[in-house]
């Protein structure tokens, strides 16, 4: 009787472990394959069957792409755009979120629903007039022009999440500060900001990742090398040294993919809990 129960439990544990292993393989193997391609010595890339454990690694492809493309500039632009769009979006979203969560004004709900509805407007349904506007206003190929669009995309969700974080914090602390006669900005800075710092940090991480991964906006609005971003280097790297249209350098593409992915992986692996909290608070609260 007892051995039968143990056997049953043993089978269940083994099955479960197999499921976890299968899950890990499905997620990690493609990523490992890109890594392998990026570091494969030339000549070792096209082997049938594939060699999963390489005998040697090479950084030649990274030298190639840094030699042929302004990769450092692209990465700098990605960093600048992701960082500053995040900071700007957080700042104005915090102001709006405070008003919505605390000041109880007519129209607060309208603003919330309007933000949500506007986030459902597809980017493709706004891009043509924006393109025309940007040409007339001379905002094409400028970092500040891109910053406006990057930031705009972040506002609805950021405001929603910050409102939900603010509503979880008791109002009493702020009331006490108000009695002391603290005026608005010191109140926001000294009393409100410290208590919702976790929420701000979470949204900083998520927004940075979204900004870093942006592709469609720069594809349309950034055409000069000075304002291009790292996600645009994927297709450019494929054709380095190409002799024909069909000659695609998968090694170079993979090298750019690795460069694009490492920063977001570091953030995700370190701040897993915060990111999960941010994702779920956008949905549940």
């Amino acid at each position: 009787m007892n051995t039968q129960l143990n056997l049953k439990r043993g089978i269940r544990t083994t099955l479960f472990t197999l499921m976890v292993i299968l899950f890990m393989i499905v997620i990690l193997l493609p990523i490992y394959y890109i890594f392998l391609t990026a570091f494969a010595p030339s000549g070792k890339l096209f082997t049938v069957p594939l060699t999963y454990v390489p005998r040697s690694l090479a950084i030649a492809r990274f030298e190639d792409i840094f030699g042929a493309l302004p990769i450092a500039r692209y990465m700098l632009n990605s960093t600048l755009l992701a960082t500053f769009s995040t900071i700007l979006a957080l700042t104005v979203s915090l102001l709006a979120a405070y008003a919505i969560a605390r000041l109880n004004f007519p129209g607060a709900n309208l603003v919330m629903i309007g933000l949500l509805a506007s986030s459902m407007l597809p980017g493709t349904a706004t891009v043509i007039p924006l393109f025309q506007m940007y040409q007339t206003l001379n905002l094409m190929d400028t970092l500040h022009g891109l910053l406006i669009l990057y930031g705009s995309a972040l506002l609805p969700i950021t405001t929603w999440v910050l409102v939900s974080f603010l509503r979880q914090v008791p109002v009493e602390i702020e009331d006490a500060a108000k009695v002391d006669g603290a005026s608005f900005f010191p109140l926001l800075w000294r009393i409100v900001l410290p208590v919702i710092r976790p929420g701000i940090a979470t949204m900083f991480l998520i927004n940075f990742i979204i900004g870093w991964n942006e592709f469609f906006t720069p594809l349309i609005f950034a055409r000069g090398a000075g304002v291009k971003v790292i996600t645009m280097a994927l297709s450019e790297a494929q054709v380095i040294g190409a002799r024909s249209e069909f000659d695609v350098s998968w090694g170079n593409m993979s090298a750019v993919a690795i460069l694009t992915t490492i920063p977001v992986f570091i953030i995700t692996l370190i701040f897993q809990r915060q990111i999960v909290e941010g994702i779920t608070s956008g949905v549940f609260k």
Binding site: F16, V20, F23, M24, I27, L28, P30, I31, I34, T37, L45, F46, V48, P49, L50, V92, S93, A96, A99, L103, F105, A108, V111, G114, L115, S118, M120, L121, P122, G123, T124, A125, T126, V127, I128, P129, L130, F131, I148, S152, L155, P156, T159, N213, E214, F215, F216, T231, L234, W250, M253, S254, A257, T260, V264, F265, T268, Q272, I279, V283
Partner: protein, 296 residues
Amino acid sequence: MLSRQNLSTRRILLAWLLVTPVVLWRLLTSVYPFLRTFYISFFDNSPVRRTFDFVGLDNYMALTRDANVDATLTFTLFFTVTSVALQVVLGLAIAELLNQRFKMRNFTRAVNLLPWAMAPIVIATAARWIFHQDYGLINDIIWRLSGERPLWLVNFTTARFAVTITDVWKNTAFLAVIFLSGLQGIPLELYEAAKIDGADGVRSYWYVTLPLLMPLIISMMIFTAIFRVLTFEIVYALTNGGPGTATSLLSYLVYLEGFRVLNFGYASAIAMLLFFIVLVVGVVGYGFLRRAWERL
């Protein structure tokens, strides 16, 4: 009395002052351009031919005769239904997996987030390599198992599945995270009560977990479906909408018409069709959601 009224007027003024930057920013970069897209859709507007002529409903009439639009709508339906179904089922399964106690659970949860964190364009571009007929990862595995090397991106059906698989690989993590959080919100007493009634394992999942998660599942289905309709990068980098127009999606079509053909008027009409589909998905989905809430 007077001073109280003053205070409340001041508070309302302050509130509007604080929301103005967000509202203005969104109005200028989202709402106004959207209305303008609607407006342009009634014009023959091309920067190449230098035209801006009112043509009434011509662009919309052209939509109904455009074979590309037909093909695009067919694939949009296939892609949305298949991808949402797979993501919901796999998302629920992964959430269940990540909710168990085991060694390395935290690490497994972090790994689950990796596809979510990667740029869509990176995954889409790399997927073209991974689906490569001779040297790709997927065909290597299939070849080891069966000796076959299917032509993924050349055939109609397989290309459609390649796009769907890539999308599912990238986006299921997000649903899993949300379903996991939903699972953690179900009180344990309910499972204990179910156990007393003789339901455990599969049956308690069927009779306790699923009904309680249903509103969440439905709202995530709406959300996921909307974002499937809007998908751009995967099609742009993995298949270019091909072979032929087998994997074309509306966002990609807007991009082609607007920024390759430079036909702004017609591209705007396609964009409005896209918006209309998103609206229908949202409204129909909301109806289902309300019914699910009532049943709870």
